[in-house]
Amino acid sequence: MSPLTSVYEPHEGDDVIGKVIEVSSKYWVVDINAPYYTRLDARDLNFRAEINELDHYIKMGDLVYARVFRVYTGNHAADISLRGTKYAKLPSNLIVKVDPMKLPRLIGKEGAMINLIKTGSGCDVIVGQNGIAWIDGDDDKKPLAINAIELVQKEYYNPNLTDMVRELFEHVQ
Protein backbone atom coordinates (compact mmCIF):
# COMPACT_ATOMS: atom_id res chain seq x y z
CA MET A 1 0.00 0.00 0.00
CA SER A 2 1.38 3.45 -0.83
CA PRO A 3 -0.11 6.77 0.27
CA LEU A 4 -1.14 9.47 -2.19
CA THR A 5 1.04 12.03 -0.44
CA SER A 6 4.28 11.20 1.23
CA VAL A 7 7.32 12.27 3.20
CA TYR A 8 10.76 12.07 1.58
CA GLU A 9 12.95 9.32 2.97
CA PRO A 10 16.60 9.48 1.91
CA HIS A 11 18.23 6.53 0.14
CA GLU A 12 21.87 6.04 -0.77
CA GLY A 13 22.64 7.45 -4.19
CA ASP A 14 19.79 9.97 -4.35
CA ASP A 15 20.55 13.33 -5.95
CA VAL A 16 19.03 15.95 -3.71
CA ILE A 17 18.74 19.72 -3.38
CA GLY A 18 19.14 21.11 0.12
CA LYS A 19 19.28 24.41 1.92
CA VAL A 20 22.14 25.17 4.30
CA ILE A 21 20.73 26.08 7.68
CA GLU A 22 23.82 26.00 9.86
CA VAL A 23 27.56 26.44 9.30
CA SER A 24 29.89 24.79 11.79
CA SER A 25 33.68 24.69 11.83
CA LYS A 26 33.90 21.32 10.08
CA TYR A 27 30.53 20.73 8.44
CA TRP A 28 27.32 22.27 7.19
CA VAL A 29 23.86 21.30 8.37
CA VAL A 30 21.51 21.00 5.39
CA ASP A 31 17.72 20.74 5.26
CA ILE A 32 16.84 18.25 2.50
CA ASN A 33 13.09 18.08 3.17
CA ALA A 34 13.48 14.83 5.17
CA PRO A 35 12.40 14.29 8.78
CA TYR A 36 16.00 14.75 9.94
CA TYR A 37 18.63 17.36 9.22
CA THR A 38 21.56 16.24 7.12
CA ARG A 39 25.26 16.84 7.43
CA LEU A 40 27.66 17.86 4.66
CA ASP A 41 31.20 17.28 5.90
CA ALA A 42 34.04 19.59 4.81
CA ARG A 43 35.95 16.51 3.58
CA ASP A 44 33.21 15.43 1.19
CA LEU A 45 33.61 18.25 -1.32
CA ASN A 46 34.87 18.42 -4.89
CA PHE A 47 37.23 21.23 -3.92
CA ARG A 48 39.52 21.83 -0.96
CA ALA A 49 38.05 23.84 1.88
CA GLU A 50 39.90 25.36 4.81
CA ILE A 51 38.51 24.10 8.11
CA ASN A 52 37.07 26.91 10.26
CA GLU A 53 36.51 29.09 7.20
CA LEU A 54 33.64 27.19 5.64
CA ASP A 55 31.66 30.43 5.45
CA HIS A 56 33.85 31.48 2.50
CA TYR A 57 32.60 28.64 0.34
CA ILE A 58 28.97 28.00 1.22
CA LYS A 59 26.99 30.39 3.37
CA MET A 60 23.84 29.96 5.39
CA GLY A 61 20.75 29.95 3.17
CA ASP A 62 22.67 28.76 0.09
CA LEU A 63 21.37 25.82 -1.91
CA VAL A 64 23.47 22.78 -2.74
CA TYR A 65 22.95 19.98 -5.25
CA ALA A 66 24.42 16.91 -3.59
CA ARG A 67 24.36 13.14 -3.39
CA VAL A 68 23.20 11.08 -0.43
CA PHE A 69 26.13 8.76 0.25
CA ARG A 70 25.29 7.34 3.65
CA VAL A 71 22.00 6.57 5.40
CA TYR A 72 22.12 5.59 9.05
CA THR A 73 20.24 2.50 10.08
CA GLY A 74 17.67 3.14 12.77
CA ASN A 75 16.64 6.71 12.20
CA HIS A 76 17.18 7.08 8.40
CA ALA A 77 19.28 10.20 8.90
CA ALA A 78 21.58 10.86 5.95
CA ASP A 79 24.99 12.32 5.09
CA ILE A 80 25.45 14.07 1.77
CA SER A 81 28.53 14.82 -0.31
CA LEU A 82 29.51 17.10 -3.16
CA ARG A 83 32.03 14.63 -4.62
CA GLY A 84 31.46 14.30 -8.35
CA THR A 85 31.47 16.78 -11.18
CA LYS A 86 27.72 17.40 -11.37
CA TYR A 87 27.34 18.37 -7.71
CA ALA A 88 27.87 21.95 -6.60
CA LYS A 89 26.55 24.94 -4.79
CA LEU A 90 23.65 26.35 -6.79
CA PRO A 91 24.03 29.95 -8.01
CA SER A 92 20.50 31.19 -7.28
CA ASN A 93 17.86 30.60 -4.66
CA LEU A 94 14.47 29.92 -6.25
CA ILE A 95 12.94 26.57 -5.33
CA VAL A 96 9.51 24.93 -5.61
CA LYS A 97 8.55 22.06 -3.33
CA VAL A 98 6.93 19.06 -4.98
CA ASP A 99 5.34 16.10 -3.24
CA PRO A 100 7.84 13.21 -3.63
CA MET A 101 4.93 10.95 -4.63
CA LYS A 102 4.22 13.19 -7.65
CA LEU A 103 7.85 13.42 -8.79
CA PRO A 104 7.60 10.66 -11.45
CA ARG A 105 4.82 12.71 -13.08
CA LEU A 106 6.92 15.87 -13.07
CA ILE A 107 9.87 14.09 -14.71
CA GLY A 108 7.76 12.08 -17.15
CA LYS A 109 8.76 9.20 -19.38
CA GLU A 110 12.54 9.48 -19.87
CA GLY A 111 12.37 13.09 -18.72
CA ALA A 112 9.72 14.10 -21.26
CA MET A 113 7.75 16.38 -18.97
CA ILE A 114 10.71 18.12 -17.37
CA ASN A 115 12.30 18.69 -20.79
CA LEU A 116 9.02 20.18 -22.01
CA ILE A 117 9.01 22.57 -19.05
CA LYS A 118 12.67 23.47 -19.66
CA THR A 119 12.23 24.23 -23.36
CA GLY A 120 8.78 25.77 -22.97
CA SER A 121 9.76 28.23 -20.27
CA GLY A 122 13.38 28.74 -21.32
CA CYS A 123 14.49 28.22 -17.72
CA ASP A 124 17.06 25.89 -16.23
CA VAL A 125 15.33 23.40 -13.94
CA ILE A 126 16.90 20.78 -11.67
CA VAL A 127 14.64 18.38 -9.80
CA GLY A 128 16.09 16.75 -6.69
CA GLN A 129 14.81 13.33 -5.72
CA ASN A 130 13.78 14.81 -2.37
CA GLY A 131 10.98 16.83 -3.99
CA ILE A 132 12.69 20.18 -4.41
CA ALA A 133 12.82 21.74 -7.87
CA TRP A 134 15.36 24.49 -8.46
CA ILE A 135 14.65 27.09 -11.15
CA ASP A 136 17.06 29.52 -12.74
CA GLY A 137 16.63 31.83 -15.72
CA ASP A 138 15.40 35.26 -16.76
CA ASP A 139 13.16 36.96 -14.22
CA ASP A 140 10.22 37.19 -16.65
CA LYS A 141 10.44 33.50 -17.54
CA LYS A 142 10.70 32.06 -14.03
CA PRO A 143 6.97 32.48 -13.20
CA LEU A 144 6.15 30.37 -16.26
CA ALA A 145 8.23 27.45 -15.02
CA ILE A 146 6.71 27.79 -11.53
CA ASN A 147 3.19 27.79 -12.98
CA ALA A 148 3.96 24.69 -15.04
CA ILE A 149 5.28 22.81 -11.99
CA GLU A 150 2.29 23.88 -9.90
CA LEU A 151 -0.02 22.69 -12.68
CA VAL A 152 1.66 19.27 -12.73
CA GLN A 153 1.24 19.03 -8.96
CA LYS A 154 -2.42 19.96 -9.12
CA GLU A 155 -3.41 17.85 -12.12
CA TYR A 156 -0.99 14.96 -11.63
CA TYR A 157 -3.73 12.34 -12.07
CA ASN A 158 -4.85 13.79 -15.42
CA PRO A 159 -3.98 11.65 -18.46
CA ASN A 160 -3.82 14.72 -20.73
CA LEU A 161 -1.27 16.49 -18.56
CA THR A 162 1.37 16.89 -21.27
CA ASP A 163 -1.15 18.65 -23.54
CA MET A 164 -2.24 20.90 -20.68
CA VAL A 165 1.34 21.98 -19.96
CA ARG A 166 1.98 22.55 -23.68
CA GLU A 167 -1.20 24.63 -23.84
CA LEU A 168 0.01 26.71 -20.90
CA PHE A 169 3.20 27.62 -22.75
CA GLU A 170 1.38 28.34 -26.04
CA HIS A 171 -1.14 30.51 -24.23
CA VAL A 172 1.66 32.76 -22.95
CA GLN A 173 3.33 33.12 -26.35
Binding site: P3, L4, T5, V7, P35, Y36, G74, N75, M101, Y157
Partner: protein
Protein backbone atom coordinates in the same frame (compact mmCIF):
# COMPACT_ATOMS: atom_id res chain seq x y z
CA UNK B 1 -38.14 11.21 31.81
CA UNK B 2 -36.54 12.10 28.51
CA UNK B 3 -38.80 10.73 25.81
CA UNK B 4 -38.06 13.16 23.00
CA UNK B 5 -34.78 14.91 22.30
CA UNK B 6 -34.58 18.69 22.47
CA UNK B 7 -33.67 18.97 18.79
CA UNK B 8 -36.20 16.28 17.70
CA UNK B 9 -33.53 13.82 16.61
CA UNK B 10 -33.90 10.06 17.02
CA UNK B 11 -31.94 8.67 19.97
CA UNK B 12 -29.35 7.03 17.73
CA UNK B 13 -29.13 9.83 15.18
CA UNK B 14 -25.99 11.90 14.58
CA UNK B 15 -26.06 15.63 13.96
CA UNK B 16 -25.34 16.91 10.46
CA UNK B 17 -21.74 16.21 9.52
CA UNK B 18 -19.38 18.03 7.17
CA UNK B 19 -15.87 16.74 6.54
CA UNK B 20 -13.16 18.15 4.33
CA UNK B 21 -9.40 17.68 4.00
CA UNK B 22 -6.66 19.96 2.71
CA UNK B 23 -7.99 23.16 4.26
CA UNK B 24 -4.65 24.55 5.52
CA UNK B 25 -2.34 25.05 2.51
CA UNK B 26 0.91 25.45 4.51
CA UNK B 27 0.47 22.28 6.56
CA UNK B 28 1.55 18.80 5.43
CA UNK B 29 -1.98 17.61 6.11
CA UNK B 30 -5.13 19.24 7.38
CA UNK B 31 -8.81 18.60 7.92
CA UNK B 32 -12.02 20.29 8.98
CA UNK B 33 -14.69 18.28 10.75
CA UNK B 34 -18.05 19.75 11.62
CA UNK B 35 -20.75 17.92 13.54
CA UNK B 36 -23.82 20.00 14.29
CA UNK B 37 -22.53 23.28 15.67
CA UNK B 38 -19.18 21.88 16.72
CA UNK B 39 -16.36 22.55 14.31
CA UNK B 40 -12.71 21.50 14.56
CA UNK B 41 -9.82 22.36 12.25
CA UNK B 42 -6.68 20.22 12.51
CA UNK B 43 -3.28 20.77 10.90
CA UNK B 44 -0.40 18.30 10.86
CA UNK B 45 3.26 19.25 10.37
CA UNK B 46 6.12 16.81 10.10
CA UNK B 47 7.71 14.38 10.73
CA UNK B 48 10.48 16.82 11.60
CA UNK B 49 13.35 17.28 14.10
CA UNK B 50 12.26 17.10 17.72
CA UNK B 51 12.20 20.40 19.54
CA UNK B 52 12.75 20.60 22.49
CA UNK B 53 15.38 17.91 22.19
CA UNK B 54 14.70 16.11 25.50
CA UNK B 55 11.31 14.84 24.25
CA UNK B 56 13.12 12.76 21.62
CA UNK B 57 12.66 8.98 21.70
CA UNK B 58 15.38 6.88 20.03
CA UNK B 59 13.07 4.03 19.00
CA UNK B 60 9.95 5.86 17.86
CA UNK B 61 8.53 9.24 16.95
CA UNK B 62 6.63 11.53 19.29
CA UNK B 63 3.37 13.36 18.76
CA UNK B 64 3.10 16.96 19.92
CA UNK B 65 -0.56 17.82 20.03
CA UNK B 66 -2.07 21.16 20.87
CA UNK B 67 -5.81 21.53 21.30
CA UNK B 68 -7.11 25.06 21.59
CA UNK B 69 -10.53 26.63 21.78
CA UNK B 70 -10.66 29.95 20.03
CA UNK B 71 -12.06 32.75 22.29
CA UNK B 72 -15.17 33.22 20.13
CA UNK B 73 -15.99 29.52 19.92
CA UNK B 74 -18.50 29.70 22.79
CA UNK B 75 -21.14 32.30 23.66
CA UNK B 76 -19.26 33.54 26.75
CA UNK B 77 -15.83 34.54 25.49
CA UNK B 78 -13.19 32.24 26.96
CA UNK B 79 -9.72 33.42 27.90
CA UNK B 80 -7.24 32.69 25.12
CA UNK B 81 -4.35 30.40 25.98
CA UNK B 82 -3.56 26.88 27.05
CA UNK B 83 -5.56 25.96 30.17
CA UNK B 84 -5.90 22.75 32.17
CA UNK B 85 -8.78 21.46 30.08
CA UNK B 86 -6.82 22.04 26.86
CA UNK B 87 -3.91 20.11 28.39
CA UNK B 88 -6.13 17.14 29.20
CA UNK B 89 -7.70 16.99 25.76
CA UNK B 90 -4.31 17.34 24.04
CA UNK B 91 -3.14 14.40 26.11
CA UNK B 92 -6.07 12.13 25.25
CA UNK B 93 -5.76 12.99 21.54
CA UNK B 94 -2.02 12.21 21.67
CA UNK B 95 -2.69 8.86 23.36
CA UNK B 96 -5.39 7.89 20.89
CA UNK B 97 -3.30 8.84 17.83
CA UNK B 98 -0.25 6.96 19.16
CA UNK B 99 -2.33 3.83 18.80
CA UNK B 100 -3.27 4.66 15.22
CA UNK B 101 -0.02 5.97 13.67
CA UNK B 102 2.99 3.71 13.05
CA UNK B 103 5.29 5.91 15.15
CA UNK B 104 8.08 3.33 15.11
CA UNK B 105 8.68 4.23 11.44
CA UNK B 106 9.84 7.73 12.43
CA UNK B 107 12.38 7.30 15.25
CA UNK B 108 13.88 10.50 16.67
CA UNK B 109 11.30 12.70 14.98
CA UNK B 110 8.23 14.68 15.91
CA UNK B 111 4.78 15.07 14.44
CA UNK B 112 3.10 18.33 15.36
CA UNK B 113 -0.69 18.42 15.42
CA UNK B 114 -2.59 21.62 16.06
CA UNK B 115 -6.34 21.43 16.57
CA UNK B 116 -8.47 24.53 16.83
CA UNK B 117 -12.11 24.61 17.82
CA UNK B 118 -13.83 27.42 15.95
CA UNK B 119 -17.32 26.58 17.25
CA UNK B 120 -18.13 24.53 20.31
CA UNK B 121 -21.41 22.76 21.09
CA UNK B 122 -20.37 19.66 23.08
CA UNK B 123 -18.31 16.77 21.74
CA UNK B 124 -15.29 18.92 20.91
CA UNK B 125 -12.77 16.28 21.95
CA UNK B 126 -14.42 13.74 19.65
CA UNK B 127 -14.55 16.21 16.77
CA UNK B 128 -10.89 17.14 17.38
CA UNK B 129 -9.78 13.52 17.40
CA UNK B 130 -11.67 12.74 14.20
CA UNK B 131 -10.28 15.84 12.48
CA UNK B 132 -6.74 15.09 13.71
CA UNK B 133 -6.84 11.54 12.37
CA UNK B 134 -8.13 12.73 9.00
CA UNK B 135 -5.34 15.33 8.87
CA UNK B 136 -2.73 12.64 9.64
CA UNK B 137 -4.10 10.50 6.82
CA UNK B 138 -4.00 13.54 4.53
CA UNK B 139 -0.34 14.10 5.47
CA UNK B 140 0.46 10.59 4.21
CA UNK B 141 1.48 9.20 7.59
CA UNK B 142 1.26 5.40 7.77
CA UNK B 143 -1.69 4.50 9.99
CA UNK B 144 -3.35 1.33 11.25
CA UNK B 145 -6.77 2.88 10.69
CA UNK B 146 -8.61 6.17 10.81
CA UNK B 147 -10.07 7.11 14.17
CA UNK B 148 -13.82 7.72 14.30
CA UNK B 149 -14.90 9.32 17.52
CA UNK B 150 -18.32 10.30 18.85
CA UNK B 151 -19.91 11.06 22.19
CA UNK B 152 -22.73 8.90 23.52
CA UNK B 153 -24.51 9.02 26.84
CA UNK B 154 -27.55 8.56 28.98
CA UNK B 155 -30.25 11.08 29.77
CA UNK B 156 -33.01 9.94 32.11
CA UNK B 157 -33.57 6.33 31.09
CA UNK B 158 -32.67 6.82 27.45
CA UNK B 159 -29.37 5.94 25.80
CA UNK B 160 -28.55 8.73 23.35
CA UNK B 161 -25.94 9.35 20.69
CA UNK B 162 -24.05 12.58 19.99
CA UNK B 163 -25.17 14.89 22.80
CA UNK B 164 -25.48 18.64 22.35
CA UNK B 165 -24.47 21.17 24.97
CA UNK B 166 -28.14 21.66 25.93
CA UNK B 167 -28.51 17.94 26.57
CA UNK B 168 -25.25 17.71 28.50
CA UNK B 169 -26.56 20.38 30.86
CA UNK B 170 -29.75 18.45 31.79
CA UNK B 171 -28.36 17.72 35.25
CA UNK B 172 -31.79 17.02 36.83
CA UNK B 173 -32.27 14.19 34.36
CA UNK B 174 -28.85 12.78 35.30
CA UNK B 175 -27.14 13.44 32.00
CA UNK B 176 -24.06 11.27 31.44
CA UNK B 177 -21.55 11.95 28.70
CA UNK B 178 -19.19 9.27 27.36
CA UNK B 179 -16.77 10.31 24.59
CA UNK B 180 -15.60 7.22 22.70
CA UNK B 181 -12.96 6.84 20.00
CA UNK B 182 -12.72 3.75 17.79
CA UNK B 183 -10.44 2.23 15.23
CA UNK B 184 -13.54 0.97 13.39
CA UNK B 185 -12.09 -1.72 11.14
CA UNK B 186 -10.03 -3.16 14.02
CA UNK B 187 -12.87 -2.72 16.51
CA UNK B 188 -10.48 -1.23 19.06
CA UNK B 189 -11.28 1.53 21.56
CA UNK B 190 -8.67 4.29 21.73
CA UNK B 191 -10.56 6.86 23.78
CA UNK B 192 -13.07 6.27 26.56
CA UNK B 193 -13.94 8.86 29.17
CA UNK B 194 -16.96 9.18 31.38
CA UNK B 195 -18.59 12.23 32.90
CA UNK B 196 -21.54 11.38 35.19
CA UNK B 197 -22.95 8.23 36.72
CA UNK B 198 -23.86 5.07 34.86
CA UNK B 199 -24.28 1.36 35.61
CA UNK B 200 -22.13 -1.34 34.04
CA UNK B 201 -24.94 -2.64 31.77
CA UNK B 202 -25.80 0.85 30.58
CA UNK B 203 -22.16 1.61 29.80
CA UNK B 204 -22.07 -1.43 27.53
CA UNK B 205 -25.20 -0.17 25.75
CA UNK B 206 -23.65 3.30 25.42
CA UNK B 207 -20.47 1.88 23.86
CA UNK B 208 -22.59 -0.22 21.46
CA UNK B 209 -24.57 2.83 20.30
CA UNK B 210 -21.29 4.76 20.01
CA UNK B 211 -19.94 2.09 17.70
CA UNK B 212 -22.95 2.49 15.41
CA UNK B 213 -22.34 6.25 15.22
CA UNK B 214 -18.58 5.80 14.74
CA UNK B 215 -19.14 3.48 11.78
CA UNK B 216 -21.20 6.17 10.07
CA UNK B 217 -18.53 8.80 10.77
CA UNK B 218 -15.87 6.40 9.44
CA UNK B 219 -17.65 6.25 6.06
CA UNK B 220 -17.88 10.06 5.91
CA UNK B 221 -14.16 10.37 6.74
CA UNK B 222 -13.19 7.95 4.01
CA UNK B 223 -15.37 9.74 1.46
CA UNK B 224 -13.81 13.09 2.38
CA UNK B 225 -10.31 11.68 1.89
CA UNK B 226 -11.28 10.11 -1.43
CA UNK B 227 -12.76 13.41 -2.64
CA UNK B 228 -9.37 15.07 -2.10
CA UNK B 229 -7.81 12.88 -4.77
CA UNK B 230 -10.61 12.78 -7.31
CA UNK B 231 -11.72 15.18 -10.01
CA UNK B 232 -14.69 16.74 -8.25
CA UNK B 233 -12.74 18.16 -5.32
CA UNK B 234 -11.05 21.04 -7.08
CA UNK B 235 -11.69 24.29 -5.29
Amino acid sequence: MYNERLDKRAFDELRKIEAEVGVVPNANGSARFKIGNTEAIAAVYGPQEVKPKHFEKSDRGVIMCKYDMIPFSVSDRIKPGFDRRDMEISEVITNALSRAIFLEEFPKSMITINVYITQADAGTRCASLTAASMACADAGLPMRDLIASVAAGKIGDSIVLDLTKEEEDLHEEGATDVPIGFLPSKNEVVLLQLDGKVSREDLKKIIAIGKVGADKIYQIEKEALKRRFSNESKS
